[in-house]
Structure formats: structure tokens, C-alpha cells
Symmetry: C2
Subunit: 428 residues, 2 copies
């Protein structure tokens, strides 16, 4: 096949006609396909029905806490163990919370803003215009959270091994109003990249180089054990590295079981130094008496000693889905020179880059054909992709049959939109 | 028996010697008694073990929602029904949340402060020094929450039928920086009073009389179905009354199952008008994808059609405990003219008022004898009881044997401290 950008006008017009006809065959079928949300499939949720068989009228934690009653803001020990396992840090450095790690991220951010998380006078609210770095493409809920708290965002480029750390370090050293950076270090949302050892080490040292003395690295390790290609990717231990660098009070780690057990009914975790956890516990104490320890106990007992095996069963469900995505992209788009995409070894997303200026139109066209995709631009702060080229593919929830059809529609939409863009560029 | 205030010095000194000896007999026993926390007893928690038998691999809500997955910020319909039942309002006026109603109170307060809850420009943060009214004695966590958000508190007197509404109305009409009032309208913490119909109606109209146009009535109805004397007390429907008064966007209702099922693993609720719920849902959307719907489903199924029966079993456990408290206070203190106390028909507390200037010393003395009480002053903002006379008794968690001994110690401490105070006053 010829690369589309090499085709002349008449050839492109012929392609447009053919592609339009092909796509209309799908439109006629009134499809209702969805590759927009990073949700586990029902078959994955079924893997955790054993949760309900864990208590058997025994609600005592290993240390003798009655999980049914009030209290214990840091969570029960065995849940903190589980969080430590997910984050690759000691249980003592973990607070186990409720069902939402996003809540914990909001808590850390709003606490850094208002009371500070260092037990002293440092707090972001004393700075007129607080900003954080947002590696892009990234996770829209991080951006929404910052927006809601009035925090500005500065985009930095995501590369194969994490954010462009030269750019990150230069920005952070120059501007004391830059107070943090959002990182999804393993199977990043949406590119699926894993931060290299060098990147992790440079992230750990970042607070020491920052012009701000109240800098925070947000380490949202939601996909830390969510491998589906083995041997699994490894991630360096940022908390240990930060201790060496003396920056341990400036690292905030997050994880949850949302994509391990039940997305809506799991357990979340925040990790960091003892100083940091003290500040977070204090902030929590104002707004709750304790987390849902009963659910923590269910989870700890269910996953104890079998987390790896459990994640392997997730992988068995997920791997074929990601294979379909890659195979159809490879077959249909690779020869045409109009798109690139990531091939993650874990996580929940594939990041597809189409010709600049065609992502929004591709998503719109897919929608008219019955395929819902994540809105173009959603992977950038303010929903604005400056190149209009990034599309996030979330293939986990749909069945393999649905994914196959959805990807057939998607590649047709990419081709047709690309052809029209190339035609427009030629006549411009 | 003679009233202690009528005794002369030598008689008081004789009493002091006798009481001191009696108390020392208890001290010798190295007691470890606790009447400080409003926690359900293990036997009450046992009543809800059926929660774990509700799912049976069927995680679909009545409307077909897979509770295991993400989403549904307002909670599932059957959980909202349950919240409506607890609050006495339609399910449509309820959001069902996670395990903590205190979190929802914090959310409403911080949202009123920062973004407002009326979908317009009104927000408390535009006022230099925001204040709220705190009927006293009251609930310490309400005070701590306000403190943490920089909200000042103005005490108003709690009477038998709720706050002194003449005082409340006068304050609210005069000062636009007064933005709200905290109410525990049924079995108030700690007095156990139930707001009369007139008080509820005046509370409903309060936002219309307030100088502030962004006034909120915090209606923390935590004990709405927690009767232990029958026929149960009834509480007027503030939401209906507020609709009549046109103040419905200024009423925030709260409830939870924390003292119905598991204190640490229940479901919480916030209620109000559709405008109000929209604002709260928007605030929630920034910090979570949805509540723990699995736990909501457990609760809804477990309590559906049997809430009254379930609460009756709580009452069977609680009534004898409150009877012991009242009986010992009645026998030992009533004739002496040194204390008054409340006789609640539900809820979790008895409020004891001792001679002015003796509460802190009574609590201290009890502690040295091995009885932990809620710190004196805790029922007032800043921990400061201006009269130093209020002591909160929380008899739910302890066994009847422990309560009996604890109350014997408590009345001895009250007597001894009173005698010493009277002696001091006579020599002064």
C-alpha cells in the first residue's frame, strides 16, 4: 500500500469515495460501541466475587481491631500491607482509605493548598498563581481536579520513558510558583509507557532542584500490578530514592484496588513519609472518623498471598483485547503513514496519534457511526490538544467482538478523515 | 437527704471525708471504664451480620446498574430510598454516599465556602469572617470541622425543644456574616432533645429572615430512627416546610447507617433540593468517580422492609443502659441539688450539668479513678464550656455491669467535687 501523504488529489478523492462507502455500511447497522472509558469488563469483576466469602462473622483485624466500629484513620494493618505491596513500599508508609484514590489525590492537593503537608508554615495558598506540570497526553481527572482548585497547568511532553525530564527540570528550577508534577509512572494513562529508572531517579530528586520549597511529586501508580505481557515491567522505588535525595516529604504515592477487585467498591491508598502521612491523617481527622475497615478486611483476606495469581487472570482477559487493537491498527494503518500508536504491556489504554488537525473530526465521525470514543483533547488540560492529534483507546470494557468491530470503524474513520485533511491541505 | 448547698462547713467536711474514702475503694480496683465515645456496642454490631449474605453473586441494582463498576455519583436508587426513609424526605432529594456523613458535612461546608451551593456567584469566601451558630452543648466534630475551615462559631443556648430560636433569629437577622446553623434535630448530641414542631418551622424559615442570602441550615439527623422509648418521638419535615417558605435551597440534611449497621462500614446520605444536590454532585465529581455502590446494595437489601424491626432490636440493647444511667443519677444526685440531667427517649447520650466550675474537676477525678469521660468542654466550640458545668455521658458501648460501676464512680466524683467547691465558696 502507498502512504496516503504521498497520494495526489485524484487518488485521494477515489480513496475518499471508497472509504465513505465502507463506513456507510457500518452506519447502516446502528452500532452502539464504546471505547471511551477505562472500566474493567464484567468478566474481570467476576474474578472478585470471593470478596463476599471472607468475613464469616469474623470482623476482627489481625491486631484485634473490630473493623465494624469507628476509628483507625490510617486503616487496618493488613490493608496497609496490601497498599504497600501495590506501591512497592513498606506498609508503615501507607494509609488505607475508602473506595477512591482520586479522593485521596484531591485531599493531598487541597491540603497542600490550604494547611500544607509539611507540618509548618509552607502552603501553596501563599503563592498568587499556583501551577503544576502536567505531562501530556495524560489523565483528564488530574486536570479537572487542578482546575477545580484553581491550579494552573503547564504541559510537558511525554516520551517513551516518561516525561521529558530536561524540560521538567528546567521549568521547575526556574519558577517557584510551580508546585508539583502529576505522574502515572507505570502504564501511564493513556500512553502506557513505564518510567525508566533514570526518569524515576530524576523525579525523586526534583523537589531538591525545585525553586519552590513546597514541591510535590504526585505519583499516581494506579496500574502498578496491572501487567498483561510477561515478564512484567518493573518500576524503580521512588520513595527509597527520595530518602537518599532527602526529598521524602515531597513524594505522594497513590494506588487502589479499583482495577483489581471492584471499581466502585475497592480500597484506595496514599503513601509517603511519616511527616507527610501525619499531615494527611490530620486533614482526614476533620472529615471522617475512619475508613471502611470492613471492606479493607474483605480485601486484605481475599488478596493475601494471591495477588499475582489474581492479576494473571485479569491479564488473560485483557491481553487478547489489546492484541486486537494493535493488530487492526498494524494491518490497517501502519502502511499508510497517517498514524502512530503505543503498544503497552499493561494498564488500560492505547494512545493513538493521527495526523495533526484530525483527532476531533475522527472522534466526531466515529460517533456518527455509533462508536463512542474519549473526547478528542480529553488527554490535555482544558480539553485542548494543541496538535488535535491524540485519541485515547480504552478497550477493556467491551467484548472482543465489539472491539473488533469498533476498531474496524475507528481505522476507517482515521483513514477517511486523513484523506479529507490531505485533500484540504493540497487545495489550500 | 439534705441538699448539699444547704450544708455548713463542718457537715461538708464530714461528707468530703466519707466520699473520699468511698472513692478510694474504687481507685484500689484499677478500673478501666469508658463512657466517652458514642460507639455502638458489639452486640449492636452483631445485629447486622446479615449484610454479608445479601449479594450472592448478584450485584445488579434494581434499575440494572452493575454496582461493582464505576459511576453513579448520586448512588443507586434503593440506597437513596433508604436515605429518604431515614431523613423523612423523597428519595429524589437524596444522594447516597460512602461510609461517612461527616465527610458529606465537610463537603457541603467547604463547597459553600469555595464554589457555593446555589449555582451562582454566592459563596461564603467573599465574606471576610464567616461565622455559624452553634447550639450548645453540641457535637464536637461540627466544631472541629468549622475550625479547620476557618469558620467562627457563635454559641446559642439549647433548650428542651431545640435552640433558643428568639436568640437565633435575632442574631441571624442582624449579621450577614452569619452563614449557617448546626442542628441535630432529633435526640440532639448530647442533650437528647427533639426539636418541637415550632422549632423546626422556625428553622425552615430562618434563611428567609437571615441577613445573609447564602445561609445554610445544617440538619444533621444522625439519630432520626434511633428511638428506644416508644411510641417514638416524631420530627417535623423541614424540607417540606422549607418549600412552603421558599427556602428549600438552604437546607442541607444528613444521615447515615453508622449507628444502624456498622459504624465504620455503613452508608451516608445528604439531602436537599435539586439545586442543592446538583451543586453537591458537581463538587463530588471532582474528587471521585462514584460511591461504594456494592456496600449501598448490601445495605439496601438488608434493611428493606425491616428497618423498624432492626431499630427495635437496637432499642432492646440500649434502653436498659440508659435506664441504669438515669436510675443511678436519680437515686444518688437528685436529692442533693447539685446536678441536672436529660432523659432522652433515643439517641446516644445523656447530658449532665453539674455545679458551675466543677465539670473539668469531676472529669479529672473520674480519670484518676479509672473512668474515662468525654473531656469537659468538648460539647462547646474550642473545648471551652463558659460555665464549666456540662458533662456528656455516652453509655452505649459499655456493658450494663460496666455502666453500673462507671455511674457509681461518676456520682461519687460529682458529689466529692461539689462538696469541695461548696467548701471553697464558703471560705472565699
Amino acid at each position: 500500500m502507498t502512504r496516503l501523504p504521498d497520494l495526489k488529489g485524484p487518488e485521494l478523492r477515489a480513496r475518499e469515495t471508497t472509504l465513505d462507502r465502507e463506513l456507510s455500511l457500518y452506519s447502516a447497522n446502528r452500532l452502539a460501541l464504546d471505547l471511551s472509558r477505562g472500566k474493567p469488563a464484567p468478566a474481570q469483576l467476576d474474578l472478585s466475587h470471593g470478596l463476599e466469602q471472607q468475613l464469616n462473622d469474623n470482623y476482627k483485624s489481625a491486631s484485634g481491631i473490630d473493623t465494624r466500629n469507628y476509628g483507625n484513620l490510617r486503616g487496618i494493618d493488613e490493608a496497609r500491607d496490601l497498599g504497600g505491596q501495590l506501591l512497592g513500599i513498606p506498609a508503615a508508609n501507607v494509609i488505607a482509605g475508602g473506595n477512591s484514590s482520586l479522593f485521596l489525590m484531591h485531599l493531598v492537593t487541597s491540603t497542600a493548598m490550604s494547611q500544607g503537608v509539611w507540618g509548618d508554615d509552607r502552603r501553596w495558598s501563599t503563592t498568587a498563581k499556583v501551577k503544576v506540570l502536567t505531562p501530556v497526553p495524560g489523565y483528564d481527572r488530574h486536570f479537572t481536579l487542578c482546575d477545580a482548585l484553581g491550579i494552573g497547568m503547564i504541559n510537558v511532553q511525554m516520551n517513551e520513558h516518561g516525561p521529558d525530564m530536561d524540560e521538567v527540570e528546567a521549568l521547575v528550577a526556574a519558577d517557584p510558583s510551580i508546585k508539583g508534577i502529576w505522574c502515572v509512572p507505570k502504564y501511564s494513562n493513556p500512553t502506557g509507557c513505564v518510567y525508566s529508572n533514570e526518569t524515576v531517579e530524576r523525579c525523586a530528586k526534583l523537589p531538591a532542584h525545585a525553586a519552590a520549597d513546597d514541591f510535590l511529586v504526585f505519583w499516581d501508580n494506579e496500574y502498578g500490578v496491572h501487567d498483561f505481557v510477561y515478564p512484567a515491567e518493573t518500576l524503580a522505588d521512588i520513595l527509597s530514592l527520595s530518602k537518599t535525595a532527602g526529598t521524602q516529604d515531597h513524594i505522594a504515592l497513590f494506588a487502589s484496588t479499583s482495577k483489581i477487585t471492584f471499581s466502585g467498591g475497592g480500597v484506595s491508598f496514599v503513601g509517603g513519609s511519616e511527616n507527610f502521612l501525619n499531615a494527611i491523617e490530620k486533614a482526614l481527622s476533620v472529615m471522617m472518623v475512619g475508613p471502611d475497615k470492613v471492606n479493607q478486611l474483605r480485601h486484605s483476606r481475599f488478596l493475601a498471598g494471591r495477588l499475582d495469581q489474581h492479576m494473571l487472570r485479569h491479564a488473560e482477559i485483557l491481553k487478547p483485547k489489546f492484541d486486537i487493537v494493535d493488530q487492526i491498527l498494524q494491518t490497517e494503518l501502519a502502511p499508510l503513514g497517517i498514524a502512530t500508536w503505543t503498544r503497552p504491556k499493561g494498564g488500560y489504554f492505547v494512545s493513538l496519534d493521527v495526523l495533526p488537525g484530525t483527532a476531533a473530526e475522527t472522534v466526531r465521525l466515529a460517533k456518527t457511526t455509533g462508536l463512542t470514543l474519549t473526547p478528542a483533547g480529553a488527554t490535555f488540560p482544558g480539553g485542548k490538544d494543541p496538535m488535535d492529534s491524540n485519541i485515547r483507546i480504552a478497550p477493556t470494557f467491551a467484548t472482543t467482538e465489539e472491539i473488533t468491530t469498533a476498531m474496524e470503524v475507528l481505522v476507517l474513520c482515521v483513514k477517511l478523515t486523513s484523506v479529507r485533511k490531505l485533500l484540504k491541505d493540497q487545495t489550500a
